[in-house]
């Protein structure tokens, strides 16, 4: 019976446009008709476009280990480490070499101007520049991971160069 109605309805759908049957002749109570054209079930109370929600509980993101000043700031559109930050990198390198069992994340960031994905690439360049500088000072490559947050995690929220200059940065985080 269900199939009959289904076929009937499809037929009406496909060929019904040109007919002149009064509207009131079309069966109205079609509770047996299911899913003739919808993307999912119907008649069951379930929405056609249902979405299951996933809630990520606050995970166990590890706090970084205190190791003194650990942020290197960059000029606009640049990933060149300025001389004044060399001392921070040297101190961090010494510290990391004393902690050979700890993983080190170098996290690159940008200011909020421009696209999210392209900023992710720029942040990655900053992170890799710092990782490279640490590597030259003897930190093993396999102890470090250079990653980027792009413009997603500004240190200072707001527009303007005062905020932007604090956000163009790479942070060395010892885990």
């Amino acid at each position: 019976m269900t199939k009959f109605f289904l076929g009937l309805c499809l037929t009406v759908f496909l060929f019904g446009c040109g007919t002149s049957v009064p509207l009131s002749d079309v069966p109205v109570t079609d509770g047996s008709v299911k899913g003739v054209a919808g993307a999912g079930q119907d008649g069951t109370g379930t929405a056609v476009n249902s979405v299951a929600q996933v809630d990520l509980s606050k995970g166990s993101l590890q706090a970084s280990m205190a190791s003194g000043p650990n942020v290197v700031y960059f000029d606009y559109d640049s990933y060149v480490i300025k001389p004044e930050y060399q001392s921070i990198i040297s101190a961090q390198a010494r510290f990391i070499k004393g902690q050979p069992s700890r993983k080190v994340a170098i996290e690159g960031h940008t200011d909020e101007t421009g696209g999210r994905e392209y900023n992710l690439s720029l942040g990655q360049k900053r992170a890799e520049a710092v990782a490279s500088a640490l590597s030259i000072l003897g930190v093993p490559q396999n102890q470090m991971e250079a990653v980027s947050f792009g413009k997603e995690k500004p240190a200072v929220v707001g527009a303007g160069e005062a905020a932007y200059s604090k956000n163009r940065r790479a942070e060395i985080r010892i885990q």
């Binding site: 009064p22 509207l23 990520l56 990655q124 991971e145 250079a146 980027s148």
Partner: protein, 431 residues
């Protein structure tokens, strides 16, 4: 959701003219639709308040009107339409006088099982023709979907192009420190959260069949790529390699994702099976290569590279050969999106200090600036290639907009408070 076509009403000459006593109240639009420019060819259309719709929790006629206005191809005309439905024979001469070319009449009634029966009929006012109609038996939660299907029917009948109103979009909101990935109707309403996280979510991308979203999540304190089944909530890690993993883009057959990885240093393009597995390098360069997107025929991949000293858009074969530069104007061109008809590329270009959606006709290379805003991001096309959706800033908040391809009709999508960003327009869903 079941639907059927309604048969045409009998010959007009055999039935009486309905008497019209009242003018319909002006329908309050749910959306702010800005129309600018002149010389637009818009179909003037009247949409009657559906008989009985006040008994449901959705104002069907208002949803339909907002859909059609947002398309840029229709202009709502208030007309004398009180107490009419799909069985009524309208006074077409009165509508012509009101300046209306088309008319939608309909009704909403309750079925015995608690569902609603939504019916409508479309009239060509100028020719005096019944253009048919449909009926939908839907649960309360699918009333908006029924309204969007009505919009699709009207749009296709009157423009000849397939309507996109019943498609879905995805976007991300940030409210306080909470990030949510939403799936909503094409007008931004009826949003359901697919993912909620305390870490950023960016770059959602619909699978070609509309069942899955690929995206970048920072939940493990670095960017990694997931593929997420929207109806089941099942998530699969697709790219979680050393360094950053980002910018997922589906191949048209849904079997492969292009992704940006820094696993071997730098920001480079790879292909990875959509079910997971070892990535294959697409091209090798010493520059940033990112934001890949497949052409609709799957033959090419467009991407952003700074190999020329500044970010520009390039394209190559889907195997990584025959690289050619596409954008030549300006020094910052990113975020390419391609229309399904293969004609258009939308992208973001920096002009002065402003970031604006631009549209390139790929056949000729002709470029037009689409917006007057200054912080546009993440354009994507409606699957019928007639609208562009993008993120922008409006009065200090992040907001989503749609624009016609000539830039003349723009609408701000509502439906969420807080900052709204990273939109992606889903595909046509298979009926």
């Amino acid at each position: 959701m079941a639907f059927r076509s309604l048969p045409r009403l009998s010959d007009l000459a055999t039935v009486f003219w309905a008497w019209l006593l009242f003018f319909a109240m002006p329908v309050q639009a749910q959306f702010r639709v800005d129309v600018s420019g002149i010389g637009l060819t818009q179909v003037p259309i009247s949409i009657a308040t559906f008989r009985g719709q006040s008994a449901s929790n959705q104002k069907i006629s208002e949803i339909v009107q907002a859909d059609l206005e947002r398309s840029g191809q229709f202009r709502a005309v208030s007309a004398p339409l009180a107490a009419m439905d799909e069985l009524s024979i309208p006074n077409l001469s009165g509508l012509r006088q009101a300046g209306s070319d088309s008319l939608v009449l309909g009704s909403v009634s309750t079925l015995g099982d608690g569902r609603f029966d939504v019916r409508f009929r479309l009239w060509d006012v100028v020719k005096g023709q019944d253009l048919g109609g449909q009926s939908y038996a839907v649960s309360a939660t699918d009333l908006r979907l029924a309204a969007h299907r009505i919009s699709d029917y009207v749009y296709e009948k009157l423009t000849g192009d397939k309507g996109i109103f019943s498609t879905r979009i995805s976007y991300v909101t940030k409210v306080a420190a909470r990030y949510r990935l939403w799936v909503s109707d094409s007008d931004g309403e009826n949003a359901q959260a697919a993912l909620s996280s305390s870490e950023p979510i960016i770059s959602p991308a619909w699978s070609p069949d509309g069942s899955q979203l690929a995206y970048v999540s920072f939940e493990s304190r670095k960017p990694v790529v997931y593929v997420h089944n929207v109806s089941t909530g099942r998530r699969q890690l697709i790219a979680n390699f050393k360094g950053s993993n980002s910018a997922p883009a589906w191949s048209p057959d849904g079997k492969t994702l292009a992704v940006t990885l820094s696993r071997e240093g730098g920001t480079q393009l790879f292909l990875v099976n959509a079910l997971g597995g070892e990535p294959r390098r697409l091209i090798q360069s010493g520059s940033i290569d990112t934001e890949p997107v497949f052409s609709p025929d799957g033959q090419r991949i467009y991407f952003v590279s700074d190999r020329g000293g500044a970010p520009q858009i390039y394209r190559m074969s889907s195997t990584g050969s025959a690289i050619e530069r596409i954008t030549f104007t300006g020094t910052y061109n990113i975020s390419p999106a391609l229309s399904q008809d293969g004609r258009w590329m939308a992208y973001i270009s920096r002009v002065g200090g402003a970031f604006k959606v631009h549209l390139m006709e790929l056949g000729t290379g002709t470029v037009r600036e689409l917006t007057t805003s200054t912080a546009d991001e993440s354009p994507s096309f409606a699957p019928n290639s007639k609208l562009v959706m993008y993120a922008t800033q409006d009065q200090g908040r992040e907001a989503l907009m749609t624009s016609t391809l000539d830039g003349k009709v723009k609408a701000r999508l509502s439906g969420q408070s807080g900052d709204i960003r990273e939109p992606d327009w889903g595909p046509f869903l298979k009926p």
